[in-house]
């Protein structure tokens, strides 16, 4: 009777050797990039392209004087606030537009319009409305992230299986529980990919907003360094951002996604 082997069910994690191999590959890639960077920097003046050693010095400098952690924290706080607000507004709106066809049809044109408005325009408006403050960056992140979350959640509601709703109906399950137990799990993968996109976008536009309308944060530091032609510091900030995004992606988002969506059949047969 056991048509599936026990081992098949539990053998989900990739083999250890394969994972080790992947780490080696990634390290190799970093080494290649560093080498090319170093070779290029030998041929041009340091204010155009500073070498790895110079950037490392700048990094230790901004880290030692406290700017690094403080400004990174400020920017992250703004992105986080904007993102959380976008989720709080976007998730329910996406569900409502998806569940109510008439409302959805009525508001549908707004989403592409909002998506095409450049974040520089939102930043300009934000400076007019909020001046040089935290709210400016938060607003820009919010306006960029919210339509993305709405769109994805909306799409998710369209994939809710009517058969499952009927099953809940036969069981006389109250509407609120159907929402929690069928709608939400169906939407979750869509919400997740939307949130991921929104967070990435939010992060990028936050820098634009900070260069225009802020006196702190990574974006502000970038502009300051560029104005003073401290190219090594520009590089140092950029490097910090890249590393932080990589840590967020590989350390938090990817494992979380793997755990949440472990019920999905893997695309390629392992």
């Amino acid at each position: 009777m056991p048509e599936v082997l026990e081992s098949q069910i539990h053998a989900r994690a990739p083999a250890r050797g394969w994972r080790f191999n992947l780490v080696l590959q990634r390290l190799g890639l970093v080494a290649v990039i560093l080498l090319v960077w170093w070779l290029l920097s030998l041929r041009v003046p340091h204010y155009v392209l500073p070498g790895p050693a110079r950037v490392w010095d700048a990094l230790t400098l901004i880290s030692a004087n406290g700017n690094l952690w403080q400004d990174l924290g400020i920017t992250l706080g703004r992105v986080g606030t904007g993102f959380i607000l976008a989720t709080l507004v976007g998730l329910p709106l996406g569900i409502i537009f998806g569940a109510n066809k008439r409302l959805g049809e009525f508001f549908e044109p707004i989403i592409p319009v909002m998506n095409t408005v450049s974040s520089a325009i939102w930043a300009t408006f934000a400076i007019i409305w909020f001046g040089v403050s935290n709210a400016t960056t938060v607003f820009v992140v919010f306006m960029t992230a919210m339509p993305l979350i709405i769109t994805n959640v909306w799409q998710g509601t369209r994939t809710v299986n009517a058969d499952f709703i009927e099953l809940a109906h036969v069981l006389r399950m109250p509407a609120r529980r159907v929402m929690m137990k069928i709608y939400l799990p169906t939407i979750l993968p869509y919400f997740f990919s939307g949130a991921r996109l929104a967070f990435g976008f939010g992060w990028r536009v936050s820098l634009v907003a900070e260069t225009l309308g802020s006196s702190s944060g990574v974006g502000y530091r970038l502009r300051q360094a560029a104005d003073l032609i401290q190219t090594d510091q520009v590089f140092a900030w950029t490097l910090t951002l890249v590393v932080m995004m990589a840590i967020l992606e590989m350390g938090i988002l990817r494992p979380l996604e793997n755990y949440l969506f472990r019920w999905k059949k893997e695309a390629e047969g392992s």
Binding site: E3, V4, H169, V170, L171, R172
Partner: protein, 263 residues
């Protein structure tokens, strides 16, 4: 019309699991606006703890009849009684269980969580839900797969999980809409055997819809043969063959042949 209704035995059984269908007619709205009659004056009494097959070609309203018995569809005319109580006043819907043609397992839930789903309508404590789900899975022989996700199971196993989900509420009536039609013949025969064992053990009434004559003959005590357009009862055939039945035995095969000519 009134004469036909009066002909039905007035005193329907009030025993747990008994079903009475009295003068039920049902119309559906069509795109053209003219209502289409799908059921015409259905009268049927189903004794407690019996197995009844509703047999017919597609489009004869047999699934609609099952949905009416389950209380999710209301007929325009006539009424349903369960345990001697009319459907409108009946509140113990939890003792009536419905198994769909598809397994309808939630892909994001493990086997045991899928079975527990049927108990999540009320306020049963988690530990009790879990132990009940475990018992139901033991009954269908899946205790080794409680933590598997649906995609990891074969068609037969998924069907067993769906059966366990229907059984976990300990129903006195089990309604099934072509439940095993998507399985291969061998697995289907195995499921039939297990279903009858469980029915004996749990003393349930089973009403199932099928277009498969052999399935009706192997499982049912009575076969309700329906005719289409509008859906009505053509004949009710008692099956007195001893159990377990084998579709290839001459007596069974002969009966199946006779039934086929009725459809």
């Amino acid at each position: 019309m009134t004469a036909a209704t009066a002909a039905v035995p007035a005193a329907a059984s009030t025993e747990s699991g008994a079903i009475a269908v009295r003068g039920v007619s049902k119309w559906f709205n069509t795109a053209e606006g003219t209502p289409l009659q799908v059921l015409d004056n259905i009268n049927l009494t189903i004794a407690a703890q019996s197995v009844v097959a509703i047999l017919g070609a597609s489009g004869c309203g047999k699934s609609t009849l099952l949905n009416i018995i389950s209380g999710i569809v209301t007929p325009e005319r006539g009424e349903i009684c369960i345990n001697g109580i009319t459907a409108g006043r009946f509140s113990e819907w939890r003792s009536v269980s419905y198994m769909f043609q598809e397994d309808r397992l939630l892909p994001w839930r493990t086997t045991i969580k899928n079975v527990e789903f049927a108990l999540e309508t009320g306020n049963m404590p988690r530990s009790e839900r879990e132990s009940r789900a475990r018992d139901a899975l033991k009954l269908v022989g899946l205790e080794a797969f409680v933590d598997a996700f649906p995609y990891q199971l074969s068609g037969g196993m998924r069907s067993r999980v769906a059966l366990a989900r229907s059984l976990v509420q300990e129903p006195c009536i089990l309604l099934m809409d072509e439940p095993f039609s998507r399985l291969d013949a061998l697995t289907r025969a195995q499921m039939h055997e297990e279903l009858l064992q469980i029915q004996q053990l749990k003393k349930m009434t089973i009403v199932f819809v099928t277009h498969d004559v052999e399935e009706a003959v192997v499982l049912a005590d009575r076969v309700v043969v329906m005719a289409p357009r509008p859906g009505r009862i053509r004949d009710i055939v008692e099956i007195a063959l001893s159990r377990p039945r084998d579709a290839t035995e001459p007596a069974t095969a002969r009966l199946a042949h006779d039934l086929k000519s009725l459809i």
